[in-house]
């Protein structure tokens, strides 16, 4: 009788498979880490990094002008086109210009509202504002771009509002595209700045004012440096998203082209994937330059 119950207890103590795996994982943190990383790193490595590297390689291929088939091999033809044809340098400079303008405009808009949300507004107002900023992200990018097509049109609300005061709508132009792009990426700039401002401890601001600094001095010397990683993180979004855009410029930019248009038309209409790959490397290089320049600010942890 007594022996029986001991045997029974031993059977019950026999750990299940899940239990054994759990014990093994608990005692081996390195194994745990490897298992956590294996699936996502394999996915990103095989799908994304491999595709990026393949793009880099493809940029050195050429297209047979008769058959339209891609010829593998090493050729600098695409890069020669890229550097000698004035179209590419014009469009590259224009795209960088628009991206800079959009980024500056967005930061100018985002700083005051993010500061108000993080440090001035009551908890209730802050909650409402965060939702108000997030909500437009649920509306499709295309819907918003077409909304601006209607806002900017000759018979649109901008013309209706501005003509009585002697101004006019910018219409479908580079300015129109810049405004629309700023509009589209604004939430992506506000949110990281807001997040970084929220982390600034209030007692730092109080200490600054106790030491005699006026509101503006505190903002300039205490708030701004602490918000910088968030500002840079926001600028990465607006800059990168603008560099790659080809839809907004088609909808509200008139006949103007951006880098994205050149890439897209070479993939589609012109059927010259290698040239498209070479053009696509331009924004990649710009972004890598920008990322390595801002790496030290800690912005990459604020994305």
């Amino acid at each position: 009788m007594k022996l029986d119950s001991v045997a029974k207890a031993e059977v019950e103590l026999q750990p299940s498979f899940a239990h054994r795996v759990s014990t093994l994982l608990y005692s081996k943190p390195k194994l745990r880490l490897r298992l956590l990383l294996s699936a996502p790193v394999t996915w990103l490595g095989l799908v994304y990094i491999a595709a990026l590297l393949a793009l880099l390689v493809t940029a050195f291929f050429t297209v047979d002008s008769f058959t339209g088939e891609i010829k593998a091999g090493f050729s600098l033809q695409n890069f020669q086109d890229l550097f000698t044809n004035a179209l590419y340098s014009t469009v590259t400079l224009r795209t960088i210009g628009i991206a800079l303008a959009v980024t500056l405009f967005d930061i100018m808009l985002a700083l005051p509202i993010a500061f108000f949300m993080a440090k001035v507004a009551s908890n209730r107002v802050r909650g409402i504002l965060v939702i108000s900023i997030l909500m437009p992200l649920w509306a499709s990018y295309l819907v918003k771009a077409y909304a601006w097509r209607s806002v900017l049109s000759n018979e649109g609300i901008f013309a209706w509002l501005l003509r009585p005061i002697g101004l006019d709508t910018p219409g479908y132009s580079l300015l129109g595209a810049t405004i629309t792009l700023s509009y589209l990426w604004l939430p992506y700039v506000i949110l990281p700045i807001y997040a970084s401002l929220e982390r600034v401890p209030n007692n730092l601001l109080e200490a600054s004012s106790d030491l005699g600094a006026k509101t503006f001095t505190t903002i300039r010397k205490v708030v701004f440096p602490l918000a910088l990683p968030g500002i840079v993180a926001g600028s990465i979004f607006s800059f990168s998203l603008t560099l790659g855009d080809y839809i907004t410029i088609n909808i509200v930019g008139g006949a103007n082209q951006m880098l994205g248009n050149l890439v897209y038309s070479n993939v589609g209409v012109a059927n010259n994937l290698p040239l498209a790959a070479a053009i696509a490397l331009v924004p990649v290089l710009i972004m890598f330059g920008y990322l390595s320049a801002v790496r030290k600010t800690g912005a990459l942890d604020n994305l």
Partner: protein
């Protein structure tokens, strides 16, 4: 923060202006869906339900909606799993190559979308010889969405800290039980 009255009024003013800027185009879209002018003339000459009626009869709309929802659902599920795994690895461990992994995760949003698009197009069509399909669409979207899940999960895990997970382990919960009852539970909490 204590700020002067005028500064506060200026901030409230700017904030209201920005909110107007954000909502004006959306409001225009809503009104224009009833606009009788096909050029979306403003102010609308008269109102009509014609566009809503036409949209409700569009079969293309339903097909597109089904495609969008399918892609969104599957891509979200993949991104949820992969993004959470990455966030757990990077928030709880220091390891060799951590910076490289973190760069790899943020690249899809740090590089322009068209670069990701054309890189995947090239990889699928030219390198692998696949036809573009629903499957390639889902793979591309999932890749793009991992970072969004990762960012949110990482922020939450960092704020949560390790204490509760350690307490759970001290009280005898296994790795999976702790994940299910503590980590996941706290991630769903507001």
């Amino acid at each position: 923060m204590n700020i002067s009255k005028p500064a506060r009024y200026i901030l409230v003013g700017i904030t209201s202006l920005i909110l107007t800027f954000i909502y004006l185009p959306l409001f225009v879209v809503l009104i224009n869906s009833f606009n009788s002018s096909i050029n979306m003339k403003w102010p609308p000459p008269s109102f009509t339900l014609l566009w809503w009626q036409k949209a409700s009869q569009s079969t293309g709309l339903i097909d597109a909606l089904v495609t969008s929802l399918t892609v969104a659902l599957v891509a979200t599920l993949i991104a949820l799993v992969l993004g959470t795994l990455l966030a757990m690895a990077l928030s709880r461990y220091k390891f060799f190559g951590r910076n490289a992994v973190s760069l790899m995760i943020i690249l899809p949003i740090a590089l322009p979308g068209i670069v990701t698009g054309i890189a995947l197009n090239n990889a699928f069509r030219t390198i692998l010889g696949f036809q573009l399909s629903m499957a390639t669409l889902i793979v591309a979207h999932a890749t793009f969405c991992i970072v969004t899940v990762y960012n949110n999960a990482l922020a939450r895990l960092n704020r949560m800290g390790k204490n509760m997970e350690e307490a759970s382990a001290d009280l005898g919960a296994g790795v999976f039980t702790t994940f299910r009852l503590v980590t996941l539970h706290k991630c769903f909490q507001r």
